[in-house]
Amino acid sequence: MRHLLSVADLDAAAATGLLDTADRLKQALLGREVRKLPTLRGRTVVTLFYEDSTRTRVSFEIAGKWMSADTINVSAKGSSVSKGESLRDTSLTLSSMGADCVIVRHPASGAAHRIAGWADRDAGVTGTQTSVVNAGDGTHEHPTQALLDAATLRERLGSIAGRRIGIVGDVLHSRVARSNVLLLATLGAEVVLIAPPTLLPTGVREWPCRVSHTLDAELPALDAVMMLRVQAERMHGGFFPSAREYAIGYGLSETRQAMLPENAPVLHPGPMVRGMEIAPAVADSTSSAVLAQVRNGVHVRMAVLYHLLAGAPE
């Protein structure tokens, strides 16, 4: 594995391999006082974030540090980006400084792909083979989020193949939804997207999933449900009449949670808007896997860094 840009690049064996590695890393660190592995000693990992983030950036930084990589954080605010430096120049600058891995989040779909292309083409000039990880590009993909969701589902349900997973809410603006649909389908799950018609992207009919507009009809047959954040910052126009009306139609209330099979896990990629897509009591219930997702995120990202950086260069 040279880059991780899209879950579409992972077949079932590769994805399962990453999840297994994440499990083993979790196991290796279990109960330890010193959470540090020497595996990536001397490797440099840079996070390059053009959008705000707490959990993804911190999670990657912790993952790198627990494996002894040197991790450096660059955010667009406060870097040369605000002076007008292009994405290509910034990424090649980081490669030239010896970044073995650049983890990029960017508002433009396809940004990580472009950086990976430049990194490969100009490796001779920069002197470093830089691996690129997509940590969210526009409304396109967020592969490590899908992997940590899959890890959490596997942990809670025991398996993924044959399970019916509902993904509810703002699919239109969600890179998490797209990555999850692709990955869960690859792993053999049956995925149901549940959203109002205005919050579904065009072309969703070609995704490997079923689409529904009525949450109540789907809930009793779901093995797990994943609530998506309503991305108000990406909405310019009326996608639904009001927050209240959205919550009534698509929010996961306590009443709705009771319609799910007993102990069906509830996932949310975070940050949660409580009272909008998820009721506070549901978010804090024992079925809520939100914090387990965050914990698994570190191990999954360690696994990604391990597969990208630990072995011989390709």
Binding site: M1, T21, R24, A28, V34, T39, M67, G311, E314
Partner: protein, 212 residues
Amino acid sequence: MATQRRGDAEGAQPPVRELLSAADVTRTIARIAHQIIEKTAFGPSNPGDLVLLGIPTRGATLARRLAAAITEFTGAAPAVGSVDATLYRDDLRRRPARALEDTAVPEGGVDDKLVVLVDDVLMSGRTTRAALDALRDEGRPRAVQLAVLVDRGHRELPIRADYVGKNVPTSRTEAIHVLLAEHDGRDGVEIARGTGDPAPENDPSTEGADPA
């Protein structure tokens, strides 16, 4: 993995010779168990003192069998687990990233315990070194000893085993195959001669087992 390894050997049609039969393997494990009991004075009077940690995959199986034998002979059960040394290897950058194996340190940890590391084949000593490093991150044992089923020589580090099932002088071109019923359907140790290429240092695919 063993199937794949035997497949490798069959490709070059090397003569395969049996070093230990299934009965020999059982006897050898029993003998090592007795030696561990004698050397560590393990028994019902100090049941919490001994921890057997196998190096996956076959070392972990051997550790479980040794623990069962020790329990049978003394009436006291030693703690048993496994420690994967992959993340601590010094040759990770020489090959594509490899799959990790089980790490399961028994409840009670390793602090102030007598730890016996268990592996199937001892060769370069690099796996043992990696396992010692992994162990250091798990805690501080009172002492660490090493038990192996086969010592085939070719050490590259100043490491020796405290308990050896069988010493086998080998050439680097030979492959040692440790077969255990849990993985391979039967017990035994075989040597495959003259696969042509010298076994690259630390390459399980040609050595027949992770070189400890």
